[in-house]
């Protein structure tokens, strides 16, 4: 059956709708006017320079990066053993554990952010950065457990058993036999978790405080006061990060992994 030409035309329009707005952002970021306009009147990179002149952007970029790396690393550190236990000891653990790890996706993010603010930031008196770290580790835990878990489910554990029965200590078998075999899943999971954390608004908005903010929250705050193309240039920088993330996912699990 040939695909209906009407459907093809419709799909072309959909993709124009998806990509068009991003091209408009790129165009706007290159404008030499002090207001947002498209198409740009003249080309200039002044708004890119402006990003680095505004100290709040410089600071929050560093914070967001450290938070995304730290939160994801923390989440991986506890998520990988959990995913390993789920795959390796399938019959020793109740299946409900898998549902518990995805709770951070099931519970509305904004409810989680609000609850963390009340109970952890205020109730337990966590410092801002510590509360953000816990919040982001939670936020990305489902990605860590699920993506690494998918790789582990495809792993043949009899290889690990062979190593152990030949006298290799269990911990060493894990690091030298299991981990290298699921490396692709770990890298892809890490990078997907990283971008999720980097883009997060709903949790961070409750946990950022005086002096400590993340880039998306700073962008929101900036937009409420100024309407200049700086936001567009920051957006373009973030799009470059997305390109990098996609390249890594493509090289590890392949982008079609995301359609499964």
């Amino acid at each position: 059956m040939k695909t209906n030409p009407f459907l093809i035309a419709f799909a072309v329009l959909t993709f124009a709708f998806l990509i068009g707005p991003l091209i408009i952002i790129i165009g706007t970021s290159l404008s030499d006017t002090t207001y947002l306009t498209f198409p740009p009147q003249g080309i200039s990179l002044r708004w890119y320079e402006n990003i680095f002149e505004i100290s709040a952007f410089r600071r929050t970029m560093v914070t967001s990066f450290l938070l995304a790396v730290g939160g994801t690393a923390l989440s991986m550190l506890i998520g990988i053993p959990a995913a390993y236990a789920m795959a390796r000891y399938r019959y020793e653990l109740p299946a409900i554990l898998g549902n518990i790890y995805v709770l951070p996706i099931l519970i509305p993010e904004i409810v989680l952010g609000f609850s963390l603010m009340k109970s952890v930031a205020v109730g337990m008196d966590f410092p801002i950065m510590a509360a953000l770290l816990v919040g982001h580790a939670l936020l990305v835990l489902p990605y860590c457990v699920r993506v690494v878990g998918a790789s582990l489910n495809a792993f043949d554990f009899s290889i690990e058993e062979a190593a152990v029965s030949l006298g290799c200590p269990r911990w060493k078998a894990f690091f030298t036999v299991v981990l290298p075999n699921v490396r692709a899943g770990i890298i892809a999971g890490f990078i997907l978790a990283f971008i999720t954390s980097l883009n997060d608004v709903s949790i961070s908005i409750f946990l950022t405080g005086p002096g400590v903010s993340t880039l998306p929250i700073q962008l929101l705050a900036h937009m409420e006061q100024f309407f200049d193309p700086t936001i567009a240039s920051v957006s373009v920088l973030l799009m470059f990060v997305t390109v990098g993330v996609m390249a890594i996912v493509e090289r590890t699990l392949g982008l079609t992994f995301l359609t499964k």
Binding site: M1, T3, L7, F10, A11, T14, F15, F17, L18, I19, P21, I24, T28, L36, F38, I78, P81, A82, A85, M86, R88, E92, L93, L97, I100, L103, P104, I107, P108, E109, I110, V111, F114, S115, K118, S119, G123, V134, A137, L141, N199, V201, S202, I205, F206, P216, L220, M223, A232, S235, L238, M239, T242, V245, M246, L255, T256, L258, T259, K260
Partner: protein
Amino acid sequence: MTPRLRAWALSAPALLLVLLFLGLPVLSTLTTTFGDPKGPFSQYAAFFNSRFRMTVLWRTMEVAVITTTISLVVGFMTAWVVARAPSRIKSLLIIAAVFPLLTGVVVRSFAWLIILGKNGILNDTLIWLGVITEPLSMLYTQFSVTIAMVYLFVPLMILTLVGVLEGIPQDLTEAAASLGATPAATFRQVILPMAVPGLIVGSVLVFTGSFTSYATPQLLGGERQMMMGTFLYQRAMVTFDWVGASTIAAVMVVVTLTTVLAMSKLARRLNPVAG
């Protein structure tokens, strides 16, 4: 160490993280809503009797339902083309859908701020075409929120459905056609039933995502088009009414969990494979 003990020891840190920092805080949010001295349900009575709060709830429902419906139709038609495309084009199209999905929600909402603004590209184009003479104020309306939400969620729907539609063997549609089924009948009797599980998963993701969103209604709806997410934030961080905010949170949790449970039940009933 027995395997069972080892399994639990490996799972413990992740379980602790979720139970301690998600379970307890969210439970505490939910329980505070029943702690009112005027009776356990007085917060809910206040919520459902307040015209303003109900307006916010219905607006959020409406935006979420419209967003889901549009995303479903657009996503399905597009995913069909993607799933049937030659593999080179297919990978390009998947890249084009993944790229916006991985670009942050602030960036994607900001795009619509530029497009729909008073001096935005849409107004400029409409004036240039002579459709309107004065720029329309499209921002901070339900329209601006909805279009940005559709923009946000169509990629998710496409990617969810491509996987499902790829699983429908082309032989099946060809068999139906060779047996004399019209394209419409093939669609209704072969493709649609097999796509139902994916359609349900996609709808749940889009509905719960748009129902609980914060950044998009904040940027494109503002105070005038308050939605549940922005309302919760405003109550919690502007008026510091934590009990009121918790009640909003509880309503959001109930709506999302009910949707997820009801839809997964429906999916099981409609799944042609499971019978």
